[in-house]
């Protein structure tokens, strides 16, 4: 016993010293990796493409999108992203950025919005909607979320979104709230933002559209929500459907005061 004792003390000391040696935690290491990636965020390529698409005369009517009203009047782009989804009088419905862009493409350029909605993400005009959304979101970088809740429809969408957020289902019987309803949760190494209140600057709703390094794709909020439903083992919701816009309204209103960092970069 006497001979073993000093050894165990040495072992105990070694254990006690390890955390003091300024070891990086896993999340610090990941933050560093993200900071390195952020310097060359390929989302910039999509931004440039989106800006070009906004100004270029296209579609059956050969018109640009420069008269598109995203909520702050025709042609105003700066600051619109942090106030969407909102109610639009001309379409008589609450719309998020992407569904609004599709409406503008139909009204101004003569594209078929229903046709665009059916196109898979990353293809044809849908890829253009994503690029446009990337550029429009970038024009509001650093601004704080402040969604309107003055129209009755906007209030309804918030309430519906809240119910969808807590609705459990699918083969795994979980809801959005199962992962995003508590502080400090994560999936593998990804910290999960709490979305029932403002998760803080650049988290959750304030981070999408984002470039996904792992698959080299630009992901819009609609695609992000689709992926949440995929993980729930639900069928994909329709593009720009009331359900996805209601959820976006819920997340957007909750994010009030959080600064947008979109377009962000993700793992």
């Amino acid at each position: 016993m006497k001979t073993v004792f000093p050894l165990s003390i040495a072992a105990a000391m070694a254990l006690a010293l390890t955390p003091a040696m300024a070891q990086k935690t896993a999340s610090q290491g990941i933050d560093e990796y993200r900071a390195m990636l952020a310097d060359g965020n390929p989302a910039e390529l999509f931004e440039a493409k989106g800006e070009d698409l906004w100004k270029k005369a296209r579609g059956p009517k050969n018109a640009s999108l420069e008269k598109c009203d995203l909520g702050k009047g025709p042609g105003v782009v700066k600051g619109v992203f942090v106030e969407l989804p909102r109610f639009f009088a001309d379409t008589q419905r609450v719309q998020d950025l992407e569904s609004r862009l599709a409406s503008c493409m139909e009204m101004l350029q003569g594209f078929n919005a229903a046709e665009i909605a059916k196109t898979p993400f990353g293809r044809g005009e849908m890829a253009n909607v994503t690029s446009l959304a990337t550029w429009v979101s970038a024009e509001s970088k650093g601004l704080k979320f402040n969604l309107s809740q003055s129209h009755t429809q906007e209030k309804t969408f918030y309430e519906v979104g809240k119910r969808l957020f807590f609705q459990r289902g699918g083969t795994h019987d979980f809801s959005c709230a199962s992962c995003h309803g508590e502080e400090g949760k994560r999936i593998r190494l990804q910290d999960l933002p709490i979305l029932t209140k403002s998760p803080g600057d650049g988290l959750g709703f304030a981070a999408w559209p984002a470039y996904r390094v792992s698959n080299g794709q630009m992901w819009s909020m609609q695609l992000r929500l689709n992926d949440c439903y995929r993980q729930q083992r639900f069928p994909y919701p329709g593009f720009g459907s009331d359900a996805t816009i209601a959820l976006s309204t819920y997340l957007g209103v909750n994010a009030k005061g959080a600064a947008s960092i979109a377009p962000a970069i993700k793992r």
């Binding site: 310097d39 060359g40 965020n41 390929p42 910039e44 390529l45 440039a48 493409k49 390094v213 080299g216």
Partner: protein, 103 residues
């Protein structure tokens, strides 16, 4: 027609830091599509950079470089107003050149 590169060049303390973001699929030739057929390799093979027309960098790239690649390098004694041009050429023979001014 390929999409333009994003080139930023900034002069600091006798050198210029150049950051280039290229838009390219960089298909490795190792992947298979949904039908099980190999997706043919398609990647940037040569990258060159010039400062006011004089070559300052040349690199040979392979299929292991990521999609939408990012490259950063320094040019000694480059100053504000100088022109930096970057060119890439891929294995299909397609090429693209973009230019930026050092700020």
């Amino acid at each position: 027609m390929s999409d333009p590169m994003r080139i930023r060049a900034q002069a600091t303390g006798g050198k210029a830091t150049v950051r280039v973001l290229m838009s390219h699929e960089m298909e490795s030739g190792q992947r298979k599509d949904a039908a099980g057929k190999t997706v043919p390799a398609w990647f940037i093979q040569e990258v060159t950079a010039t400062l006011n027309g004089k070559q300052v960098l040349s690199a040979e790239w392979g299929p292991a470089v990521a999609k939408n690649p990012f490259m950063q390098f320094n040019i000694k004694s480059a100053k504000a107003g100088d022109k930096v041009a970057v060119t890439w050429k891929d294995n299909k023979g397609e090429t693209r050149t973009d230019e930026a001014t050092v700020s």
